[in-house]
Subunit: 304 residues, 2 copies
């Protein structure tokens, strides 16, 4: 039994109103696997980097019990690089540089030892590659969670719809839910998307929390109001990783467990944005995580 | 003991993507007092209309046990009239017409029978008039809730700050909280506003719910995701009226009761937007209200 995470492992250079970084380690699979590792100790990565990627960074993932056998290292090639600058409101950003490098022809090879995959996290990547991973698993995982973004809706909608059909949970933000469905109302958007394949839809609303839709049930999760949002990069990936990590831990797929999984994912995402990149989510103690979960409980509890 | 509501009683003409109305009855005090009347049966209005205002509309307020002794009717004058058109996203609107009419020199006279006021709702009006009402009450009410808007921040900030000092609860939206405090982070904005006088701050976020701040406590209330938002006019006033109506009903001012009051206010606001104007909130049964409250409970409950 394991949780396989596919996505980018990459370099980011980030500028926010609070400062800027040189190249630091980022990527959807990095954030998601680190987040999942707090709840589950059999996380396995499928990704690709160049030989410019530091060995000590891989060692650090291994220290979090993340299996990197499926992390391909391409000799003489460079890792994926993204650079972006956030606006003052932290809700929007400009991409300054995107260098695909090794990602250009990424063939996601699944090591034999990953065939025990029960939980599959498809981090944001081309829908084609996400689909290939599903097809290469001999046994269909118990739970497939897929993250994607508006970019693929713009340039690869057919592939995206094909892939969405094959997954259990789709996570997108509110603007993407509207784009994918052509509906402004999120309730109508969700009802439409739930006919496209996924049985569960999570709509991420950033500082406004998240909505989980399943059949005619809706769960509204709060976001923790924060005095400082230092760097939003990776928050969505961290959320998704925490979500599926918690699901793998509890082992039973149902609406109630997903509600809790959203709270656990939100809690880890709330840490993520407190520092640049993955800094904060590399060094959390169990006590810090539990205390944050309790903050979420207090934040939204009422008794009528 | 009573709950006094001050605000506009007026005519609105509304255009939304779903249709348009002729002149219908609106106004902050109308929405707020109707909403409050579902939880408390000693609601009293202070407002002004012209003699163009239909007697049967006043009779309908009375049927909801709303005392209209403080509703001045100005002979030969016309009622306040506002006309607006909502954009497709329903989150923004253009004002087409504003005719102050009787509101231009509104002097809020407090009938002697209103001096038993324990709960005071200051609906959106000039801060000067709101302040006059507080000063004319011989005994300071147990709870003063004030609603206001960006318009007064633009043209009467000093008066506004004077009035804010005198109230217990301030309700504004997120953009207004940012404008009033000069802080982008809502946590920082709230901390600053809580030093300006109010002990409680409610930040209304429309379809994203509401936040209640008090000392270092925060409560995040969800909004009910709706398939159709027909007409958002009056939703904020309905929320405030439901909020203070519930507080008057329970009679004890504390954070826990305010959390519930926000859920009750949100529930009534969720009805308000389902039809044009006050139509929906005039004819709710107890069963409908209870069922809606239960929807809010299910929407946000989780057990960790």
């Amino acid at each position: 039994m394991s949780l396989v995470v596919i996505g980018t492992v990459a370099f980011d250079a980030i500028e926010t109103p609070f400062g800027k970084t040189d190249k630091i380690v980022g990527g959807a699979a990095t954030y998601a696997s680190l987040a999942a590792s707090y709840f589950y100790n059999k996380v396995k990565i499928v990704a690709v980097v160049g030989d410019d990627f530091p060995q000590e960074e891989i060692a650090d993932l291994n220290k979090h019990h993340i299996n990197t056998e499926g992390l391909q290292i391409k000799k003489g090639e460079k890792s994926f690089f993204w650079s972006g600058k956030y606006h003052n409101d932290m809700n929007s950003r400009d991409t300054l540089v995107t260098e695909l490098n090794v990602l250009g022809d990424f063939d996601p090879i699944i090591p034999e030892s990953y065939q025990d995959c029960e939980y599959l996290m498809l981090g944001n990547l081309t829908p084609q590659v996400q689909q290939t991973v599903i097809n290469r698993l001999k046994k269909r995982p118990k739970l497939i969670v897929m993250d994607t973004m508006n970019f693929w809706m713009d340039i690869a909608m057919d592939d995206l719809l094909e892939t969405i059909k094959m997954v259990d949970v789709l996570t997108i933000n509110d603007a993407e839910a509207r784009q994918l469905s052509g509906e402004y109302s999120l309730v109508k958007a969700a009802n439409k998307i739930l006919t496209m394949g996924p049985k569960y839809l999570i709509i991420k609303k950033g500082e406004h929390g998240a909505l989980l839709f399943h059949e005619d049930h809706i769960f509204s999760a709060p976001a923790l109001p924060l005095a400082e949002v230092f760097d939003p990069t990776g928050a969505g990936d961290t959320f998704a990783g925490g979500f599926i990590g918690y699901m793998a831990k509890v082992g039973t797929v149902n609406f109630n467990n997903m509600k809790n999984a959203i709270i656990f994912g939100s809690a880890l995402a709330s840490f993520c944005v407190e520092k640049f990149g993955t800094e904060k989510i590399r060094n959390l103690s169990e006590e810090e995580v539990s205390a944050r979960i309790q903050q979420f409980v207090r934040l939204s509890a009422f008794e009528i």
